[in-house]
Symmetry: C2
Amino acid sequence: MTRIAYFGPEGTFTEQAARSLAADGDELVPFETIPLALSAVRKGETDAACVPVENSVEGVVPATLDTLAEGEPLIAFAEALLPVHFSVLTRPGTTEIRTVASHPHALAQVRLWVEANLPGARSVATSSTAAAAVAVQRGDFDAAVTAPVAVQHYPLEVRATEVADVRDARTRFLLVRRPRQPLPEPTGADRTSIVAAAANRTGALAELLTELAGRGINLTRLDARPARGNFGEYRFFIDFEGHVAEPRIGDALTALRRRCRNVRFLGSHPRADGVRATIAESAGNEDFVDAADWVAAVRRGEQA
Amino acid sequence: MTRIAYFGPEGTFTEQAARSLAADGDELVPFETIPLALSAVRKGETDAACVPVENSVEGVVPATLDTLAEGEPLIAFAEALLPVHFSVLTRPGTTEIRTVASHPHALAQVRLWVEANLPGARSVATSSTAAAAVAVQRGDFDAAVTAPVAVQHYPLEVRATEVADVRDARTRFLLVRRPRQPLPEPTGADRTSIVAAAANRTGALAELLTELAGRGINLTRLDARPARGNFGEYRFFIDFEGHVAEPRIGDALTALRRRCRNVRFLGSHPRADGVRATIAESAGNEDFVDAADWVAAVRRGEQA
């Protein structure tokens, strides 16, 4: 049995993601913040941790990126992609909804729905979507806007499901563990993540990206985050198609490591959306293998 | 007199930034959301709008970037950099603090301070730092964590100032207006911002950045944001040193425009931190002018 830390409380989207990634019999343990969930797996209190990494509307989750970039290394070995739509929960028998509670981010994503379906209702901010369910259960407010999984934890009634102003919003979650364990096998539809602290000089980032572009490797995300809360120094979080076990990706990582000692591998794992890597002409794994074989043969004096 | 829309309510950090950027006699008008504040200046209801653009701890402000990238163009003509530290306000005469209210982002940034200075106090989320002040005034909670400017709006007592767990956190704000007005003069310490929707093919971003790097232009920020809430398509928000009036920057923007029809100019204005642009050898304005003069002379048959 595996213990999986997650960014709680119970009844949030992250719990839902952790459940979708867990095997039967795994134990899910909620932690109050993202750094605490990641700290639990670093210390060996749990075997893995599930944390959100990016949302297609809100952008990246700074606490996850910053915590993965510093301290003991952790490696992402799986990901989940959850549609962001909400359920609206009330106490059983509620007839009139005058107050709607949720986390401010959730309220922002259902504002139009609330205006159209609960005209006149007042929106009240709570510290999480699950905290809104607790407050409704307690009788503080009439309705809670929550993750679909919340109804499994609180004795509330579902009044609406799949509520969301933006139809295609999704959040991506990572399952991370300590290094010195085998990586997941390459599938042809993988994602590799790194973080690099490029030298603070003109063109440093362009050079890193050109190493990837020159090998026909497609980026899937790039974020520049100030290091240590300071605008002057940046870290680059780069996700791209492919798996470090592939020759073409290994070749690219070797070049990045040479240019940039301060690079950290954050994982290679199958993509949740199953999108297969685009491989450019003369940038396939066999091309890299053939080219290396040819240089080896030239060195042996066997080819020219 | 100028009317300046800002992301309100009254008593927030954005009001404080707008005040620091406003001239005597300017009228400040709060709007409920960032899109509404930007819409007011687009429609001509106000002359300018003040909105947050990035925070050194939390990262960029998605609503600002997305709203500037779409709809009628707006141009940033000034910026402000505010240290993020909070004041703690109570009703006059309050002796015991059992509840501390604020926006969840603010609560996250003062958690250690609250634990150390108000042990046992419960943190309660409100929809903004100013809403916390209103709730404390009403008697709902004991203390509010607010922007320093809030005490000018609410009859509350200052119990602590300069409260912040991270010492050097700062937020940058933009003052934007409609185009077809003169740009601010170059000062040698300027920032230029663009947003580009690069073609969805391998190496597109590396090519754009190489155009800047090849001209010795230093990036100050880069963000990739999914367009229309979809992970598949990205927009790149790029800030760099320099002013579009300079030959070296004009040359770079010409190349970016050629590579990428879908590029939008978001402004050139003095940097709030006064940091002067680093100019690489053979990438100064006079180098660009000399080179263009030489080609013109060659074309006239006067030089070789």
